[in-house]
């Protein structure tokens, strides 16, 4: 594993502004916004799987979309192999896109029902071919244009400096003056070193037969038969559609695949097949995955590292064994305790963490989990706990003021067999 992370996000933020009513606009009320992703720092190394878990509404899908540049972030920095992603736009962005591909949440909605399998799976190939052809023409032009702009700036800088030194020069002997002037003229003449203009061969327009052949080669890697090129997506089961979606993402050989709930619509047996396939693909072809899910079991099996998100913030990051076996943050504990276990002995227990996710519209300062946390203290409500490493859990970062105190509390204690407090209702 190299030291340069594939994707590195620092304090990434995505706000969705709310519309104001006319009264609010004229009374000068500030625009409020939904803080979907609120200062997230996360990195993915090449060939690594990072699991992103959290409840719905915690911003994990938005984060995935921002990393794939499907949403524009509102603040923060995002780097891909050291290159600043937020600077890319237009066709340059499109040419970059083959590096990161997305498998979307809804396998029915993300496949066009009127296209055949080879058209769906081959579409990224056509798009990339178009983009490559554009690149072959425009990359030399871009380099020349940049060179032109840079040398104009350089000329202006030289002239400015030469003129600014005129009074000082006049005090020097004439021979010296002459030498400096010649130097200046020579520098103007010389300009900047000539740019290396790459010769990019123009790729030919991709042909239907090539697309079909490439699709045919890709389908077996996700476990689909090769003879289904001319079928429509409705002829596939849920697992089959999810495989199609995966094939479409893998056909352009991406470096990172963002998997947004890849197995939540599938049942246990099919889920096991897809997860096995993901692990095999990563071992054989070295993809990096960002696995966005609320299914803790899937993350346990596929991921190397896990980030737990709550209300737009990452509350805990660490290795999969560390976080899932020894969760530190109270929210992680609650999340793990809530997972139903296929064990008939753990029955008739009651989950103690109540309430829904609070509103994401301009959330108050302090820890986001304070309203639901059983270990809350006054400090949690005013000061936001930054991610930090604590003693006793190397390689694991947690955002909790009381991390040292709660580290030894087992998740199971958030469950109780005591009956609930009698409700106020009298309808029986």
């Amino acid at each position: 594993m190299s030291a340069v992370p594939l994707v590195e996000a620092v304090d990434l933020e995505k706000l969705f502004p709310l519309t104001r009513s006319a009264t609010e606009v004229f009374s000068g009320k500030a625009r409020r916004s939904i803080h979907a992703v609120d200062g997230v720092t996360i990195s993915v190394m090449p060939g690594e799987t990072v699991g992103l878990i959290g409840e719905s509404g915690s911003g994990k899908t938005t984060l995935g979309w921002v990393i794939a540049r499907l949403h524009d972030s509102t603040a923060g920095s995002l780097r891909f192999e050291g290159q600043d992603l937020l600077q890319l736009k237009g066709e340059n962005l499109r040419h970059w896109r083959h590096n990161v591909q997305v498998v979307f949440q809804d396998p029915v909605g993300s496949l066009d029902p009127r296209l055949k399998v080879w058209q769906i799976v081959g579409e990224p190939l056509r798009a990339q071919n178009q983009s490559d052809r554009w690149f072959a023409v425009n990359e030399p032009k871009r380099i020349r244009r940049e060179y032109r702009i840079a040398s104009r700036k350089e000329r202006k800088r030289l002239t400015r400096e030469f003129r600014a030194g005129a009074t000082e020069r006049s005090k020097l002997p004439p021979a010296e003056q002459k030498r400096l002037e010649d130097e200046y003229r020579a520098a103007l003449q010389r300009g900047l070193p000539a740019p290396v203009i790459p010769r990019i061969p123009m790729p030919p327009r991709i042909r239907r037969a090539t697309v079909r052949q490439k699709v045919q080669e890709t389908l077996p890697t996700v476990g689909l038969p090769v003879d289904c090129l001319d079928q429509y997506p409705h002829e596939f089961s849920g697992g089959g559609r999810q495989r199609l979606s995966l094939a479409r993402a893998l056909i352009v050989n991406p470096k990172l695949v963002v998997l947004d709930e890849p197995t939540s619509a599938l049942d246990v047996a099919v889920q096991a097949q897809i997860l096995n396939r993901l692990v095999e693909l990563q071992r054989d072809r070295g993809f990096a995955f960002l696995l966005i899910t609320h299914n803790v079991a899937a993350v346990r099996y596929v991921a190397d590292r896990v980030a737990v998100m709550y209300m737009g913030r990452v509350v805990e990051v660490g290795s999969v064994r560390g976080v899932l076996e020894r969760p530190i943050h109270p929210y992680t504990k609650a999340l793990l305790a809530a997972v139903p276990v296929a064990d008939a002995r753990r029955r008739r227990t009651r989950f103690r963490i109540g309430g829904d996710i609070p509103s994401l519209v301009d959330p108050p300062p302090g820890c986001r989990f304070a309203a639901r946390c059983p270990f809350v203290i006054d400090r949690c409500k005013v000061e936001y706990p930054a991610l930090r490493e604590i003693a006793g859990a190397p390689g694991q970062q947690v955002g909790c003021h009381r991390a040292e105190e709660v580290i030894d509390i087992a998740p199971a204690t958030l469950l109780t067999t005591e009956p609930a407090a009698p409700p106020a209702a009298a309808a029986a």
Binding site: A337, A342, R347
Partner: protein
């Protein structure tokens, strides 16, 4: 009559699609005892939802047809009840909670109106008021067609032997049964509190899209309970929710079973959810019930190879521990089910007899006193299966 909320005997359901006909549910017998939760698990397409919808006769008929068997509910065979009489049974007798709470709530009405409608309908039924004067009472009133019709009053027709039907305004009915808006409001609030909704006064005036998934599902449960059903069918009630909300809804359902005496048929493909909720468990494969018994016994010692591999497919390990065990092959096409036992092409302990002889009917596995049944020739060998 046995002490069962509903008992299904040899039920088969066929779908007729185009020229083909396939049997989605074949020869299923099961009983939901009163006050119990019976879980049904199985892969997609094994017929569990078809079974769930067949009990209140919600299946579209055609294409679906009930090919045989009985569904005995309160002494009535629902298969023989004509469809137009079913609405009388559906509300107060059998109620359903569907998988997608957003799709099952009406987006154009506030929460109050939707819950109030259910409460109002129950009140009208209980009081016997309506725009028709009914002549015969019964456990379920099927007499709508037997008695005089509402239209008779409008045409001034004199009904032989019956009272002249009374036609009254909707408001008058509401006055008689005590379901004016303010009266309903109190009851609706009670039901919302019953499903542990904080601040029900605010929630009443919201539309479904303003609520979170867990909240919507709780509204659905409130609506279902407000009709006081004796059987509640929950078809994947928590599949669309995520774990913490799912845990809350499951906790709530477990508490409600004791508070309002109802029986639940719980359909899910999530083994964890079933393990935490159900008392008895039925496992379905390709339209057949392959195993049935107390949930703890099935989880500890499954007696059908399908149950065993299904339990093992749940991911519980790390990547470094080796691949997950999945079930080889696919769910059989019900157009042409494999001959013999339907599970034999994927079964790790299949023998030649499984290919020719159909699977035996559900039989008790552990001596006479047990209720654990399995439909496998080699049920005794399953515990030793590798």
């Amino acid at each position: 009559m046995t002490d069962a909320a509903v008992s299904i005997e040899g039920l088969s359901i066929d779908y007729v699609v185009g020229a083909g006909r396939f049997r989605a549910v074949s020869d299923v017998s099961l009983e939901v005892p009163r006050g119990h939760v019976v879980g049904i698990v199985g892969e997609t397409g094994c017929g569990k939802s078809t079974l769930a919808q067949a009990i209140p006769r919600l299946l579209p008929e055609p294409p679906a047809t009930i090919g045989g068997g009985r569904i005995v509910f309160e002494g009535v065979d629902l298969v023989k009840v004509p469809l137009w009489k079913m609405p009388r049974i559906r509300g107060t007798g059998i109620n359903m909670i569907f998988q997608e709470p957003l799709n099952s709530l009406n987006p154009a009405f506030r929460v109050f109106d939707q819950v109030a409608e259910a409460v109002h309908i129950r009140k009208v039924r209980e009081s016997g008021a309506g725009n028709v004067v009914r002549t015969e009472p019964g456990p379920f009133d099927y007499s709508r067609r037997a008695g005089p019709k509402a239209s008779d009053a409008w045409t001034g027709k004199i009904v032989p032997g019956g009272a002249v039907p009374e036609v009254v305004h909707r408001r008058e009915i509401e006055r008689r049964v005590g379901s004016r808006r303010d009266e309903l409001r109190k009851e609706v609030l009670d039901y919302l509190r019953l499903v542990r909704i904080n601040d029900p006064e605010t929630i009443l005036n919201l539309y479904p899209h303003e609520l979170s998934g867990g909240m919507r599902q709780r509204i659905m449960i409130a609506m279902a309970l407000s009709e006081k059903p004796s059987l509640l069918i929950a078809d994947e009630p928590t599949s669309a929710l995520d774990v913490t909300i799912q845990a809350q809804v499951l906790t709530l359902m477990k508490e409600l079973i004791e508070e309002v005496h109802t029986s639940i048929l719980f359909i899910s493909h999530d083994l964890g959810v079933i393990a935490e909720t159900a008392d008895e468990l039925g496992v379905m494969y390709a339209g057949r019930l392959v195993e049935f018994g107390p949930v703890a016994e099935i989880f500890e010692s499954p007696r059908h190879p399908y149950t065993k591999v299904l339990l093992r497919a749940a991911p519980t390990r790390y990547k470094t521990d080796g691949p997950l065990l999945s079930i080889p092959g696919n769910v059989p096409n019900l157009n042409r089910p494999p001959p013999g036992c339907r599970f034999h092409p994927r079964c790790p302990i299949a023998r030649p007899i499984c290919k020719v002889e159909p699977a035996p009917p559900l039989a008790v596995v552990d001596g006479a006193g047990s209720t654990h049944k399995s439909a496998c020739h080699f049920a005794a060998e399953v515990p030793q299966m590798a």
